[in-house]
Symmetry: C2
Subunit: 209 residues, 2 copies
């Protein structure tokens, strides 16, 4: 069985990443979602090992020390990170593992998994992004403004992603992402072993071995 690939999905808030991932999981059977580890308290309804792996600060910091996290960050006094074990297990099973993180995390992941596939999702336009942010109807003007400022920051890093996908129609976007993942498996950068093998075999043949 071929090893799966690690997909990092980022995008503006309001780009619909959560829905996309759910739909991908529902439509195809080759995906697994990475589950983050956090030191924040579970919210009502959250289940350990489903939404998050919940942990103490002590355990989390041990994980860091053991290099057991692919990436981690601290927000508002809580740690969030991606346990390496789970990802490695799923990849070994041939699953394509989706990791939803932001650009700083993506850059860290790239150091450890240079073959990972970074994907950026965007609404069809900035106006639509604004509409989606406002659409929730629960945020103050200030919050919306600060999100837009953050989006501007995120937009600065888009070139660090390999692909950019416009989430206009959900089903179209899901099958587009799936197509990108399939194609990405043929990238020369992800087939160094194959290329090495072919090169060696041809070398042997042309020497008449």
């Amino acid at each position: 069985m071929n090893r799966g690939i690690l997909i990092v999905l980022s995008g503006f808030s309001g780009a619909g990443k959560g829905t996309l991932m759910k739909e991908l999981m529902k439509t195809y059977d080759n995906y697994a979602l990475s589950i983050s580890m956090t030191t924040r308290n579970p919210r009502p309804g959250e289940v350990d090992g489903r939404e998050y792996f919940f942990s103490t600060r002590e355990t989390f910091e041990e994980k860091i020390a053991q290099n057991g996290l692919i990436e981690y960050a601290e927000y508002c006094g809580n740690y969030y990170g991606t346990p390496r074990d789970y990802v490695e297990e799923q990849l070994a099973k041939g699953k394509d593992v989706i990791l939803e993180i932001e650009i700083q995390g993506m850059r860290k992941v790239k150091q450890m998994f240079p073959e990972m596939l970074p994907l950026f999702v965007t609404p069809p336009s900035a106006a639509e992004l604004e509409r989606r942010l406002r659409g929730r109807g629960t945020e103050t003007e200030e919050v919306i403004k600060s999100r837009l400022m953050r989006a501007a920051g995120e937009a600065d890093g888009v070139e660090d992603y390999e692909y950019i996908v416009i989430n206009d129609d959900l089903q179209t976007c899901v099958s587009q992402i799936h197509g990108i993942v399939q194609a990405a498996k043929s990238a020369t950068a992800r087939n160094t072993q194959l290329i090495h093998d072919i090169r060696k075999e041809i070398g042997d043949l042309s020497k008449g071995e």
Copy 2:
């Protein structure tokens, strides 16, 4: 209409590039084959503007001087090259243009069309490549050996291609190439204008314009 992309298809001789291109053209309607210009004489059955654009050395050298060729090379005293006009016309019509050339030509094309998509096709193994070369049954041992040596040279440049495709089953390979072409259209490197526009719109919104 979106502009098409330029696909450069290379691969070991015996990898089945010709059949792949024919099948791609037959199966999907978004492709156009680039037609080369040459100074060699037409062979029986070859039609000007179908197999090649046939030209005199004088006309060919004028084309070179006018920068009217994307790439060209001289083999056995004859020029072969890719006229730029035809490619540009087809791209403007939204066609994805396929160009079958070797690695040196691919590198030249890349200078002029940095967004082009370079694809390398290989038989499933070197043993299979050898079998395909021998399979024609018309070549001397020496010719086969020299082809294998050339293949070894070609294999050295595979990393310069964006994707590597194994031509085992024809239909599988054709749909794989088609998927790669579709996915390639979402590459950030091929969407600099889109990224620029999004960035500008978000910048304007976050400034409250």
